[in-house]
Amino acid sequence: MSQFTLDDLRDIMRRSAGVDESVDLDADIQATSFTDLGYDSLALLEVFAQIRTGRGVEIPDDAVGEVETPADLVGYVNRRAQARVS
């Protein structure tokens, strides 16, 4: 499976959790916290669920506490996908 990119994440966030009116997801958001982007833990859980069904990468619920930014989540997904393969 191809690398999980920030654009892939943007797509999923838009579709499954919507976008806050004051936020531009296409801006340089990779280091912006999900909280600052307007996504609470429920939104993150929904994003995780979409990643699981779309990419087959299982993310445990308590990862919500570990991934603070989009960059964190993209890295996390790719590491887990890698670990699964090897």
Partner: protein
């Protein structure tokens, strides 16, 4: 040892009204359509109802959720909550409450709900059975349940006072106001109250059909004719009303642009089980509401009837009204004949309509029904009836036995 502050005496005043209903979006549109007896009941468009015994309903026309609800909330909420969020914005604007900059902990949100997030839940059940549990959205956990609307209003507007929801079917809108008054007595400075419903969809309609109370008449003009001898049941409707309620003194002090009227008296009861030999609760509850308001039957200028639309329930309402007011003792009307029964939105909308009737000194007509001149109900039909109204009685009965009544009075000096 801490002592609890005694509840304060309040006069709950409605300072803002937001309506999203089959009669229109906005109180003005709703009122104009109501006075004209313009029917908001039509063939169902929300889904293909061919093959269902019920094919007509009161739908909110031209309501586009994306125009009223930001995308972050859209994914997490049902249409029923969208209606309430939209109506809340209208009510807040109407009351100018936000300019008062009240402490967030002094603003409560108490709404009525009756069936919760039907369409959202149906969609997720379909995903569950067609694709599996991992395809059910996380948001199902917060979109369907009765308190979702209260919660989302509270979060969106930063209202952190004592929030709640009451579920008593069609009586809920009055019960929510009853609880709003309690919140004001306990110290809240404002309460966002009322209710909405979105019961038009395959799953939701099937549940209602199973209850046996819906009209199977497919003609929108004749389907819902409460008090008619050949009444065949009621028609469901969607939407409702949100009201901003404050103590009258607080409202005046903070410069509220207007006071529509007061919630002068509230009462709530429950029918005895069938076969008990005891009478239904309605007459007792009406008398209790009048007593609570310190008001005699003669001071009531109009009754907004529950208008269940089945001959048996209608007869019980006629009996109760005749017992309290005397036959033809008070003008009665059921403008819900233009919207259908809105369940959690119904009584809230009736209260909004009652306030507008008091403001303008005119009783809106009941649509589609004519009664003989010697009928024990003086039902206002055909055209609106001008009347100087000091107080109105709103009556509401919920499926199963919920019975509530409220006296809505003109503001003092109004």
């Amino acid at each position: 040892m801490t002592t609890l502050a005694p509840p304060r005496t309040v006069r709950p005043a409605v300072t803002g009204i937001g309506v999203v209903a089959p009669t229109g979006i906005g109180a003005d549109r709703h009122w104009a359509a109501t006075l004209a007896g313009r029917r908001g009941i039509d063939r169902i468009t929300r889904f293909d109802s061919a093959g269902y015994p019920v094919t007509v309903a009161g739908e909110v026309r031209d309501f586009v959720s994306t125009e009223h609800v930001p995308s972050r909330l859209l994914v997490a909420t049902d249409l029923w909550t969208h209606f309430a969020l939209a109506a809340t914005v209208l009510a807040l604007r109407d009351s100018d409450l936000e300019r008062a900059a009240l402490d967030p902990y002094d603003i409560a949100v108490i709404t009525a709900s009756s069936s919760g997030g039907n369409a959202f839940g149906q969609k997720e059940i379909e995903s569950l059975w067609a694709r599996g549990p991992e395809h059910v959205t996380v948001y199902q956990s917060i979109a369907w349940f009765y308190a979702a609307t209260t919660g989302q209003i509270s979060i969106r507007h930063g209202m952190k006072g004592p929030c709640g929801v009451v579920v008593s079917e069609q009586a809920g809108g009055l019960d929510a106001l009853y609880l709003a008054r309690r919140a004001l007595r306990d110290g809240s400075r404002a309460v966002v109250s009322g209710g909405t419903e979105a019961p038009i969809g395959p799953y939701a309609l099937t549940c209602q059909i199973a209850g046996g109370l819906l009209s199977d008449d497919g003609d929108p003009a004749t389907a819902y004719r409460p008090f008619a001898p050949d009444a065949r049941g009621h028609v469901p409707g969607e939407g409702g009303a949100i009201l901003v309620v404050e103590d009258l003194d607080d409202a005046v002090r903070r410069g509220a642009p207007r006071v529509y009227g007061l919630v002068a008296g509230c009462a709530s009861g429950f029918d005895p089980p069938p076969g008990s030999g005891r009478p239904p609760a309605l007459a007792r509850v009406i008398r209790a509401a009048l007593a609570d308001a310190g008001c005699t039957p003669g001071e009531i200028g109009v009754v907004f009837a529950d208008a269940a639309g089945t001959p048996e329930a209608d007869a019980r309402e006629v009996e109760a009204l005749a017992a309290v007011f005397g036959p033809r003792g008070v003008p009665v009307t059921a403008p819900k004949t233009t919207t259908g029964r809105l369940y959690a939105g119904g009584a809230a909308l009736d209260v909004a309509t009652a306030l507008l009737a008091i403001r303008d000194g005119v009783i809106p007509p009941t649509a589609g029904v004519r009664l003989p001149p010697d009928h024990p109900l003086d039902l206002v039909t055909g055209a609106p009836r001008e009347a100087r109204l000091r107080a109105a009685l709103v009556v509401s009965r919920g499926h199963g036995g919920f019975t509530s009544a409220a006296v809505i009075a003109a503001a003092p000096g109004g």
